[in-house]
């Protein structure tokens, strides 16, 4: 059975995209390869779904784009704006807090969780 969709998981592509684009500008295909490489192929998603996230972040002012023709192919390169860097800092702090909280719950003894 497929795992149910979770709002936590839905935020993952945005977090990864902002993190990877913080280091260097990339176009979509390059970015997906970086995600696969950075997550050691543990995070498999339909590759096309990065584009709605990229377009949404661009619309919010978190990313900027520039178009460049490389070997006859028109590429749209994305990079993080100062607003995007701020957004990344906020989301990653939330994410760290969330994972720490979940780790605490998972690491707690069984009797501590069954109280109440």
């Amino acid at each position: 059975m497929a795992a149910p969709s979770s709002p936590f998981i839905n935020g993952v592509p945005e977090l990864l995209i902002l993190r990877l684009l913080r280091d260097q500008e990339m176009y979509g295909y390059e970015l997906v390869q970086q995600i696969r490489s950075a997550t050691k192929d543990q995070l498999i998603l339909a590759e096309g779904v990065v584009y709605p996230v990229l377009h949404g972040l661009e619309r919010d002012g978190a990313l900027r784009t520039r178009r460049q023709t490389v070997n006859g192919r028109s590429r749209v390169y994305y990079s993080v704006t100062p607003a995007g860097a701020e957004r990344y800092a906020g989301i990653s702090a939330q994410w760290r807090q969330l994972t720490a909280t979940i780790a605490n719950v998972l690491g707690a003894p069984d009797d501590a969780r069954s109280v109440g």
């Binding site: 979509g28 295909y29 997906v32 339909a46 590759e47 096309g48 779904v49 584009y51 709605p52 996230v53 377009h55 949404g56 619309r59 919010d60 192919r73 028109s74 590429r75 749209v76």
Partner: protein, 214 residues
């Protein structure tokens, strides 16, 4: 050959995304698919299988269309405010076109008095041409955006009625007499209104519009 991205384009346009957004999105997806296919071919896969695998990795129609359709930020202004885009904006453009027409006439009457008579006879024609040309443009835009026809048709009707109700009267200046330019409102004459409407709505016979859901 059937391309799933064509189906995606239709689905997104019908969902109210602007054509420029849709074309950029599908172009990026197409480039991405080509990148995957080229990579797979470089690893020895045959072109047909590489393209099928690239399409699978890209995602299906639902996974590619849904994130764009559910996000209201991607909807075009024309989709969100159809009355403004297809009725108010064309009427405003018509007023601007009429104003430009009258200002040009006044300038012509002042600077090139010899041409005034010819231009004075052109003004009523330009007056009626404005709603027709604007109407054709708006109908073409609506078809390109896969919009239903009712808002653009209302816009064309409003422009045509305005053109028949508000009429310019021009008396060109003569040698020692000043000219006169006036605007009058009259109840619309039925025949000119019907003819104007038929001409302005002519693109409906060749353009493809969305039909209301049954």
């Amino acid at each position: 050959m059937h391309d799933p991205l064509d189906e995606l384009t239709e689905s997104l346009l019908r969902g109210g995304l602007s054509p420029s957004r849709v074309h950029r999105y599908t172009r990026e997806l197409s480039e991405h698919r080509q990148d995957i296919a080229e990579h797979l071919q470089s690893e020895g896969m045959d072109p047909g299988a590489a393209l099928r695998e690239a399409q699978r990795r890209l995602g299906n129609l639902e996974s590619l269309s849904l994130p764009m359709l559910i996000d209201a930020r991607f909807r075009s202004r024309a989709h969100r405010l159809p009355a403004m885009f297809y009725v108010a904006l064309p009427l405003f453009m018509q007023v601007v076109a009429w104003s430009a027409c009258l200002i040009t006439f006044i300038a012509a009457a002042t600077l090139w008095r010899d041409a005034t008579m010819e231009y004075a006879s052109l003004v009523p024609l330009l007056w009626l041409a404005a709603p027709v040309l604007i109407g054709w443009t708006m109908l073409a835009l609506a078809a390109h955006r896969r919009t239903r026809a009712h808002w653009p048709v209302i816009g064309v009707a409003a422009g045509s009625v305005a053109a028949v109700v508000i009429r310019p009267t021009i008396t060109p200046p003569l040698a020692d007499l000043p000219g006169e330019l006036s605007l009058a409102m009259a109840s619309p004459a039925l025949l000119p209104l019907v003819v104007l409407l038929l001409v302005a709505l002519l693109p409906l016979s060749i353009l493809r519009f969305e039909r209301p859901a049954q």
